[in-house]
Amino acid sequence: MGVGIEVTNLNAWYGTNHTLQEINLNIPANHATALIGPSGCGKSTFVRCLNRMHETNPIARVTGSVKMGEMDIYAGAKPVQIRRRVGMVFQRPNPFPTMSIYDNVASGLKLNGYTNRRVLDETVERSLKKAALWDEVKNDLKKKSGASLSGGQQQRLCIARALAVDPEVLLMDEPASALDPVSTSKIEDLIFELKSQYTIVIVTHNMQQAARVAEKTGFFLNGRLVEFDSTHKIFTNPSDKRTEDYITGRFG
């Protein structure tokens, strides 16, 4: 099951560039939360702070608190431990190109020391089913490489890979922006299915997508969280004029 995320006074820097400023919000468990905003507003940086990926850049720095359930990920927790709880899917599908479909999904488990064949088989099947890919690949699991799949299938493979380690949170950074409309619909349907079991945070430039899949939406601008409210409110009657101006295309 998913876990709620409580973000308090979060600040992030790239060198001297203060990219996130005093972010405070509560991301509800077992729901999808969308983050929108113009390019460079800090939404991707924010998501990368939720699994401590931001700090992998040597000039990057983070202050503040991010609590997942009871665990503050910036207070003593190890990044590896955190990334087991937090899966991530990127804009471009990035399956391991030389690995089979099976090995792609099993890679996280193997990395964590699981070798029992039965456990691996069951996890691969369950993850591919959750990612709505099982029926399309079940006969080619070990024959085909991840790279041989279509773009949409590759993205669902990456989601299956993320789900295989049984995370509580799934971060998605524009997961459908490189996909055609049919593949995009499948990813959105998938998010809709998964959100009752995982806490999903999705960064998207497609506002209709945010409106379709998320219960909560946050609008970022110039490194600040301008507004965070129910998606219904944000897209029909936002409280802040900057939100209104952005989603109606008056700037951005």
């Binding site: 709620g4 509560n26 029909t236 009657n237 936002p238 109606t248 295309g249 951005g252």
Partner: protein
């Protein structure tokens, strides 16, 4: 500023709706003038304008539908287009009411002119004022002005009830005047409908400007349905 073409299209939509509003308002004025002076030639003008109003209703609906399909509007723009669609339908019905009044005037023209206990021009002035004020609120995106219109509807309703009472009494006590009284009653009913449409327009203006649904609730905000505003549970696991 981005999406310049889209925002120009919204301006065009507003302009076209105001042209249609002008026609609907004029149709009511003409129908009442026809009643006042018993001039059938004015009724012909009302009939002609109804055709134009109907055509404009289709054009505006199509333009609004195109914008919804092609531009996926959000927030204030979305509310604006939805309001335009609703106001469009109300204005078309104002045109229908004008036509209905002028049809009654044609019938009354065949009957002897009699004195009836109903002040149709006064009622028309009040209903017309409501239409004018609701449209002014639309032009100015002024929710406060729209709220004033909501308070005016009761007076027209009261006048319609009084007309009903007085005219049914005429029908009961002076049966030879029943045809005239019935026509006057139908005109009164049409004017009461015009006032209702003005109220609807005012409610749509409030929805557009403030995002508040005040329909069927005496101008007070209606609670959103539970699913639309459902708050996910807080961040507890």
């Amino acid at each position: 500023m981005t999406r310049i073409r889209f925002h120009q299209s919204l301006e065009d939509l507003k302009e076209n709706l105001l042209v249609m509003a002008g026609l609907a308002e004029q149709a009511i004025q003409r129908a009442i003038e026809a009643y006042r002076v018993r001039d059938i030639s004015i009724c012909d003008l009302v009939t002609r304008s109804e055709v134009a109003i109907n055509r404009m209703e289709r054009d505006i609906d199509q333009a609004a539908l195109d914008l919804l399909a092609m531009e996926q509007p959000m927030a204030g723009d979305l509310r604006f287009i939805l309001s335009v669609i609703r106001i469009n339908a109300d204005l078309e019905r104002v045109g229908d009411a004008a036509k209905s009044i002028s049809d009654r005037v044609r019938q009354m023209d065949q009957m002897p002119l009699v004195e009836l206990p109903v002040d149709i021009p006064r009622m028309a002035a009040l209903a017309g004022d409501m239409v004018r004020k609701s449209l002014q609120a639309f032009i100015e995106a002024n929710a406060e002005q729209a709220r004033i219109v909501l308070t005016m509807d009761d007076a027209v309703d009261a006048m319609n009830r009084a007309a009903y009472k007085a005219l049914t009494k005429v029908m009961e006590e002076q049966s030879h005047l029943a045809p005239q009284a019935l026509s006057a009653l139908m005109i009164s009913r049409s004017l009461e409908r015009v006032a209702d449409h003005a109220t609807n327009i005012a409610e749509d203006v409030i929805f557009w400007v403030q995002g508040t649904d005040v329909r069927h609730n005496k101008g007070l905000p209606v609670k959103q349905n539970a699913t639309a505003n459902a708050e996910p549970q807080a961040s507890a696991d």
